[in-house]
């Protein structure tokens, strides 16, 4: 099994219901790292500590990110966090390949799963830098017809 990058199905439903306020000043959005052996995907509905990484200086649940603000260009609405995600002087010895975004204000409801080449970190920093926030590369993009 493996992790699969996806916008979570439940998040898409909850968008219509107004559950998530991901804009600056809105809900607390968190980012957690998961082992390469985990199985996060579009059907993930809520944060779980199962198969989350563990190690020196890593706190279960991950880090609170800097919210971006949803905006649009033409028919594409897009959103990217306002800063990189950083874990400082961690040791994460078991291979991990996924960051999971979830809404800790709204009962830890899932947002999205993002994968990358499997990594380990030893006594050093792990940083995830964000893509350029535009309609072509933003972290989350929804394009209308």
């Amino acid at each position: 099994m493996a992790n699969t990058a996806a916008m979570c199905d439940s998040w898409l439903v909850e968008l219509g219901g107004g559950t998530h306020n991901m804009n600056a000043g809105g809900n607390a959005i968190k980012a957690a790292l998961y082992l390469a052996s985990a199985t996060l995907n579009d059907t993930t509905t809520v944060y779980s500590a199962t198969n989350e990484v563990s190690g020196t200086n890593y706190t279960a649940g991950g880090v609170t990110i800097t919210n971006g603000t949803w905006t649009n260009t033409g028919k594409t609405a897009y959103w990217t966090p306002g800063a990189s995600f950083a874990w400082t002087t961690v040791t994460l010895s078991t291979s991990f390949d996924t960051v999971f975004l979830y809404n800790s204000t709204q009962a830890n409801k899932a947002i999205s799963v993002h994968t990358f080449a499997a990594q380990t970190v030893n006594a050093a920093n792990f940083t995830l830098t964000m893509p350029t926030n535009n309609s072509s590369t933003a972290l989350l993009r929804i394009t209308g017809p």
């Binding site: 990058a5 996806a6 916008m7 898409l12 990217t80 002087t89 040791t91 999205s112 993002h114 990358f116 080449a117 990594q119 380990t120 970190v121 030893n122 006594a123 050093a124 920093n125 792990f126 940083t127 995830l128 830098t129 964000m130 893509p131 072509s136 590369t137 933003a138 972290l139 989350l140 993009r141 929804i142 394009t143 209308g144 017809p145």
Partner: protein, 64 residues
């Protein structure tokens, strides 16, 4: 003395070997800085740069 924090505590930089690793994928790239002591990895820092996020193409139903 220039000391580096490692899995084995503070070690003088001159005793360590350092190399960099790069990986470029379509949607992200990885830059790692690795320190070894006698062939053993004692420090590995990683930056993953997400080049492109996720996109959903929405549809609108037709009436009539």
């Amino acid at each position: 003395m220039d000391l580096v924090y490692t899995t084995k505590g503070l070690i003088e930089r001159s005793r360590l070997e350092m190399h960099e690793e790069f990986e470029d994928a379509p949607d992200h790239c990885v830059h790692a800085i690795v320190y070894t002591l006698n062939g053993e990895i004692v420090k590995r820092g990683v930056e993953v740069h997400i080049k492109q996020g996720l996109e959903l193409n929405a549809q609108v139903g037709k009436v009539g």
